[in-house]
Amino acid sequence: MINIGLQPEYVLSILGISLTNTFLTSVLVTALLGVLGIVFYFKKQNCKNILISGIRILVFELLKLIDAVTHDRKLSKKILPVVATFFLFIVTANLLALVPGFLGSFFIDTPAGKFSVLRSPNSDLTTTAALALFSVLATQFFSLRVLGIKKYIGRFLNFTNPVKFILGFFEMISEGVKVLSFSFRLFGNIFAGEVLLLIIAFLVPYIIPLPFMILEVFVGIIQAFIFAVLTLTFIKTSTMRHIRSGRKVDI
């Protein structure tokens, strides 16, 4: 049968550190987005190029989406870099793996076997776990900065009430579960998509993979959107303050 690996394959070794093919692809995605960002920065404000205008529209639509959740332009502008980076990285990583003839064309012969040099970054649990960890840490950072350290600790350790103490304890568990949930959602979707495309290409190589590739494009965009919007929602709910009567207000 075909060789489907849950583990990523080590293809390169620099200074004694083995690198996986998913890491190489994520470096490629970062370089691509970096070049796009630098080009965007150095063009004038009203440039008629379609790529620059497209990026400007995309970032502005993301800002309006963040506004729809937070209702606060100041907070939206602070959150925009994190949320937009998650969205752009994940959507570029997912769509790059579906460009025909790009990621599956380069092979390298290692002692363990013949592997492809580039592979979709989100099909590896390390990339998605790193993204999930970063997302939860960003939530904690924003919460700490807005609430101050006493109220931040008061979210988790609340000694006024036995019920509130147990709720605070569950808050801590919930943060850990969020890391697992984020990483497994993204990993499961993308890895299962890869396995599906591989098996369909093995069974019927002509024409039939097309609807499945359309599905994978759709799933890639939706998963990137969901990751960004869920990060946004968790940041929003963690920066809301309780006033003394127990109602929640925005800051």
Binding site: L6, A68, S181, F184, G188, V195, F225, I226, V229, L230
Partner: protein, 71 residues
């Protein structure tokens, strides 16, 4: 009972999320039909809720894949 535990995992594990996503969609449609000018907010909330429900099905899928591909 069954020879293939990964098939059984996927079969049982997707019943709950499928029901949940159907109920979320139905509630969102009722809300949108009752009040069409709030459609945008209801749609964003629906997508988030469906993402949470679908994640449970993805956990079942990951367990099935691990059972199949890790000996």
């Amino acid at each position: 009972m069954t020879q293939d535990p990964s098939a059984f995992t996927m079969g049982i594990g997707t019943i709950g999320p499928a029901l949940a996503i159907g109920m979320i969609g139905a509630a969102a449609l009722i809300g949108m039909a009752r009040n069409p000018e709030n459609s945008e907010k209801i749609q964003v909330a629906m997508i988030i809720a469906i993402a949470f429900a679908e994640a449970i099905a993805i956990y079942a899928l990951v367990v099935a894949l691990i059972l199949k591909f890790v000996s």
